[in-house]
């Protein structure tokens, strides 16, 4: 049979978002792939140049619809640095709380989508059901389930509601039990092991060469986690292990993500204990007016430039659920950031698609791309 190109996307059950994977196949074998992005490009970096610093946060939630908090945190760290602001410690812990719950929610979403790609139907519902509990928690202190707008430059929007920590601990207990079930449904299944072992292998050296980060890199045995390597927020005061696997295949990525969720539970218990013991302010006590919403506007355009506010640049790198995200914020003294540049981990992970897809079957594309955990919102921005 001669070779032919097929378009998997932009509307295709495999894609989980709007993108197109062009595949050159020979029979059932993949000969070449060419990912095409841009169907979800909203120009977030450009719009950010036209918004107040706090207003950009609404865009960050929409960068990645399953990991909004991670992106909020990413942007907040960079812009606080660019604006020379320092958040209170309790706000830092609250951000870690958001981050780790978000990691669990994101990985649960990944789990649901990944098993669905394999044709495993009921775990999809289990994953979504348990993710909903985490979203309920988010809703209880942010008021929204996916687009939180919770973090602010210089702190967070509000403190936790009373009784939150106890409920959160209950949710953690529930989740810990569910993780066992997930493993039984996947690792305990011979078909799953046959499908996923030695599939989509990407060795650590190739990962580094092609910029692949996150669970994909850790599944290849490379111990690299920004929470350990370049601790941000208060990660250096918390105990956790870096999840690792050595098989560099789909099963390895599954194991890494499952272990990361367990480590997140461990982190969250420490954070909840800390939050119980240390009440305090959650927003810096002195903030410039011109951060924008919800603080009042400055009035006329260009008025600030007369007043000589300090310039600065901010750079942040955050271990997002998908990998290493980076933000670069240039503050030229205006009300709006001069330039905002984001690095999406999925962007790099997809760009290496040729390395881990070629040579496998067409039927392997959904599990492999599922194990990459594609979130098109943050790739296209």
């Amino acid at each position: 049979m001669s070779e032919m190109w097929i378009n998997m996307g932009p509307q295709h059950p495999m894609t989980h978002g709007l993108w197109n994977l062009r595949v050159l196949i020979d029979g059932e074998m993949i000969v070449d792939v060419d990912p095409e992005m841009g169907y979800l490009h909203r120009g977030i970096e450009k719009i950010s140049e036209d918004r107040h610093y706090n207003e950009v946060i609404t865009l960050m939630d929409r960068c990645c619809y399953v990991a909004g908090f991670a992106w909020e945190h990413l942007y907040i760290i960079a812009s606080e640095e660019a604006l020379h602001l320092e958040p209170p410690e309790r706000a830092q812990y609250l951000r870690v709380l958001c981050d780790e719950f978000q990691r669990i929610a994101s990985h649960l979403m990944w789990y649901a989508a990944f098993v669905q790609d394999l044709g495993l139907m009921s775990p999809f519902l289990y994953g979504m059901r348990d993710r909903d509990l985490v979203l309920d928690l988010f809703q209880s202190y942010t008021g929204a389930r996916m687009t939180y707008e919770y973090m602010r430059v210089g702190g967070v929007r509000s403190d936790l509601p009373p009784g939150f920590t106890d409920h959160a601990r209950k949710v953690l207990d529930w989740l810990t039990d569910r993780f066992v079930e997930y493993d039984q449904l996947c690792l305990g299944s011979d078909i799953f092991r046959k499908r996923c072992d030695d599939l989509g292998t990407l060795k650590a050296t190739d990962c580094v060469t092609h910029g692949v980060t996150g669970p994909m890199l850790r599944s290849a045995g490379q111990k690299r986690d920004l929470r350990k390597d370049r601790p941000y927020a208060v990660y250096d005061q918390l105990e956790f292990d870096v999840a690792l696997a050595d098989s560099a295949d789909v099963t390895g990525r599954y194991l890494v993500r499952m272990e990361e969720m367990r480590q997140s539970v461990r982190l969250l218990r420490q954070v909840l204990d800390w939050l119980d013991r240390h009440p305090g302010p959650v927003l810096a006590d002195r903030l410039p007016r011109w951060l924008g919403a919800p603080y009042a506007p400055v009035g006329k355009e260009g008025y600030l430039l007369k007043r000589n506010y300090p310039k600065g640049v901010g750079f942040s790198a955050v271990e997002e659920p998908h990998g290493e995200a980076q933000a670069y914020v240039v503050n030229e003294g205006g009300e709006h950031p001069y330039r905002v540049k984001f690095r999406s981990p999925v962007f790099a992970n997809i760009s290496a698609a040729r390395q881990y897809l070629v040579g496998y079957h067409v039927a392997d594309i959904p599990p492999i791309m599922g194990s990459v955990d594609v979130c098109v919102g943050e790739v296209d921005r």
Binding site: I6, M8, E28, S122, S189, I191, K194, P366
Partner: protein, 376 residues
Amino acid sequence: MSTITLYSVSYDLASVLLGALGSILPGGARAAITSADVVTGLSVLIFGVILLAASMLNTILLIWWERKLLGRFMDRRGAMHVGYAGLLQNFADGFKLFRKDTVRPREADPLGFLTGPTAYMVTSMVIFGILPISTGWNSGALPLSLLLALAIFSFAPLFIFVSAWSSNNKYSLMGGMRSAAQMIAYEVPLLLAVVAVVIVSGSFSLTTIVTEQQNYWYWGPLVLALIVFVAAMLAEMERIPFDLPEAEAELVEGWNTEYGGMLFAFFMLADYLRALVGSILVVLLFLGGWTMPSWVPSAATSFPLAGIVWFMIKTYLVFGVFVWIRASLPRVRTDQLLRVGWNRMIPLSLLAVFLAAALVIVKCLPVFGCLPSVGG
């Protein structure tokens, strides 16, 4: 006929109808119309209509059953708003599909595109004329009814491939290829597993096979053949874990990607018709058909149409197992599927055949009649 069966009901109905018609006709015509041949012919026709309606009704009920079961497996409720417990949901869905336009791609081959699903549907329905559901089912008493049923059952890959090829879509084509490869690969172990049953029962007639199971059901002695049969039947029915031809993750909808409206409904219905046939065959060949163990109180087995009722209960339970498998297993890959089919299933089914032959030769089959759980 002493017991009331579906056929006797339709025979009585036919004779009553023809008698009423004959009473208003002149003598010569009356004699002609009430002759035994005409009554039999009409009764077969009525029987066929009832059968058609019953099989379609059962298929729709089967979809409902799957939706409800799958819902509970997934920690949700399934269809629940249309009719009691969502019983009428599938009628609503069917009505929606019925009202839809049939969209045919411009580049598709019209002949194959239209005849493929139709023939697939028709061949799936014809099997119901052969399968005996209860005693007194004359069509099932044909000496080679089992072979005939399986022969019609294995028409499907041809029509699937025709419709996939004429859709002129790459996904359809791949799905059609996979479907053909898979069905041909699993036809062999399926038939070999049936051979084991035939060896033990000594007949190709489905009715005889069931009556032979009066003393003990065949799943006891032929457990290996049962496993092979169920696995091969899953592949033939294209259900998870063997639903590669319509693996929606990579092939959109596989061979029926381009179909919509009523033609898609044909495919859906035919799929579930085949699932029903598969469940019925499992019940007929391994689970004693309409017979019940002797420890079941006679009141439960002697009411009118009791055979049909028990038969359907068994069928739905067997299908429930298929749903259970669907809810808990991922799908396999094409090469793995074919490797399992040719390298594992065929030796296993051959082994099952030899075991069955050995059991017959050493005459230890009646031992299974002692097991109360097996039958009796």
